[in-house]
């Protein structure tokens, strides 16, 4: 069951991810954004399989529910059209070849490496109270720092997107 679910979600993630960047039917950015939503949702399915339930929910609330809506808003407000198809350049071909080689290498090496690290799945969950307690002890400082990141991001986003009174 676990295996089947993994392969289903993994396939969904990869197919949707691929359609985000290279959709043969539509080059519209809206389509890209929507397929990214699907990718995010299937990733969150994988998170559930890995027993990170809290993160699975956060992933959907924050990414799919908020960040990507923002993407859609901007695409729609700017009324972006599909970009033109480009001819594949020699550079692209060489790059693609290199990536293919890297991937082949990956399939050979990663399983062996991973075996060295893995110690079998443990039976713990990313339980919410434990996460909360850690946020206010061990991870207090990053937590405070991220609040500053959000402030900077908020100030910046408002500042930049607003129309300047001329």
């Amino acid at each position: 069951m676990q295996d089947i679910l993994f392969y289903v979600f993994a396939a969904l993630t990869l197919v949707c991810g691929f359609l985000v960047v290279a959709n043969p039917i539509s080059r519209s950015p809206v389509t890209s954004a929507l397929f990214l939503v699907l990718t995010i949702v299937s990733l969150s399915g994988l998170f559930v399989l890995l027993h990170a339930f809290f993160l699975a929910a956060v992933q959907i609330v924050v990414y799919a529910g908020a960040a990507l809506v923002l993407f859609l808003f901007v695409i729609m407000m700017l009324d972006l059209k599909a970009e033109e198809r480009r001819r594949i350049t020699r550079l692209g071909l060489i790059g693609g070849g290199l990536v293919a080689v890297a991937m082949a290498w990956l399939f050979r090496v990663v399983p062996r490496e991973a075996a060295l690290v893995a110690s079998g799945p443990a039976h713990v969950e990313g339980s919410t109270p434990a996460l909360g307690a850690l946020l206010f002890t061990q991870y207090l400082l990053p937590f405070e720092a991220i609040s500053l990141v959000l402030v900077a991001g908020m100030v910046g986003a408002i500042l930049l997107s607003r129309k300047e009174p001329s």
Binding site: I60, V61, A66, M76, T128
Partner: protein, 351 residues
């Protein structure tokens, strides 16, 4: 029952699971259909009219008549519209509210103690509902975009912005509840409230209830926050280019949202399937007791839906900027203050 007992436990749970899914889906769809009728009858009563009473006894077949009418209308799609998104949007609006219901415990147990009346008993139930509910905005935004015309686009962006803005107030308003309960599981929330009438969280957290309720009105896009119907501003909203059954889907989605929101309200603030009298706050030991719990839940749900309907016909509409100002400058700070106060209170209580 004999047939059931011959199944293995796993097969039993699968069977029950399937039954629950089908049952809940049927009840929700039934409620959606009749919510329209309730709305029209309550509205009529408020306006001192009779309301629909021709189709069937007391107008009970009115939903059917409405459905036939919706199907028979011309299904029109503007020439410039994006066909895929135009089809996708109504479905996307409908689905999330149906999925939210999956984690709501609509009863205690039925038959045997392991057969709990909730489709998915998630540890992070409440986060799940927020996650799914936040996906509802895609249908609206996409509907606005798909028609490729400016009124729907503006309407879609407005409604979308409204939904994600109020989601913040909604989420923040619930944090004090979970400070009290100490768990995100909705079953645990109900257990916490099963200690007398004043154990209900509406009495412990009235402010949270008020914020959540206001935010729920905004999330369901209903009056006093129903921008899509603000004709004088936008000539309609994101769904202006839709007609026939696709429009009916948007229409039904509004009621499905209302049901989901009511179910959340009942579970979070009104003790879910419990009643503080006659020992009805403990899981049922008999089959009929279980049914009674489901009945209590449905009764509370209907009461909340009537509240939604009542508000709609008694309130004027907010202007869009007032609506956003209310959300960001009133509700969010209030909710934050509520969190601080609750946390301080718990801290002092713990010494």
């Amino acid at each position: 029952m004999d047939l059931l007992e011959r199944l293995t436990p796993i097969e039993q749970s699968v069977t029950f699971g399937a039954l629950k899914v089908v049952g809940v889906f049927a009840i929700v769809m039934f409620l959606v259909a009749y919510a329209v009728l309730i709305e029209r009858r309550v509205c009529a009563a408020i306006q001192d009219r009779i309301g629909p009473n021709r189709a069937g006894p007391f107008g009970l077949l009115q939903p059917l008549a409405d459905a036939v009418k919706a199907f028979l209308k011309e299904d029109f799609m503007p020439a410039q519209a994006h066909p895929v998104y135009f089809w996708l949007a109504p479905a996307l609006v409908m689905i999330p509210s149906l999925l939210v219901v999956a984690v709501i415990p609509f009863g205690s147990t039925l038959g045997n103690p392991d057969n709990r009346m909730v489709i998915a008993d998630l540890n992070i139930g409440i986060l799940y509902t927020f996650g799914i509910a936040s996906l509802g905005v895609y249908g609206i935004v996409l509907a606005g975009y798909a028609a490729r015309s400016k009124y729907p686009l503006m309407g879609g962006i407005r409604s979308g912005a409204q939904m994600i803005s109020y989601e913040i107030a909604m989420g923040l308003s619930l944090i004090p509840l979970f400070l009290l309960v100490g768990d995100l599981n909705l079953g645990a929330v109900i257990d916490y409230q099963a200690r007398g009438l004043f154990g209900w969280l509406i009495f412990k957290q009235p402010l949270a209830f008020a914020i959540f309720l206001v935010a729920a009105f905004a999330e369901t896009n209903r009056l006093p926050f129903d921008m899509p119907e603000a004709e004088q501003e936008l000539a309609g909203g994101y769904n202006i280019e839709y007609s026939s059954i696709k429009f009916a889907l948007f229409f039904m989605a509004e009621y499905a949202h209302m049901i989901a929101a009511s179910a959340m309200l009942v579970t979070l603030f009104f003790g879910g399937w419990t009643l503080p009298f006659f020992g009805l706050d403990q899981p049922a030991s008999t089959f009929w007791g279980g049914l009674l719990h489901i009945g209590i839940f449905l009764a509370k749900l209907l009461a909340m839906m009537v509240l939604f309907v009542w508000v709609r016909w008694m309130w004027p509409r907010f202007r869009y900027d007032q609506l956003m100002a209310l959300g960001w400058t009133r509700l969010v700070p209030l909710a934050l203050g509520n969190i601080v106060v609750t946390a301080l209170w718990l801290w002092l209580k713990a010494g």
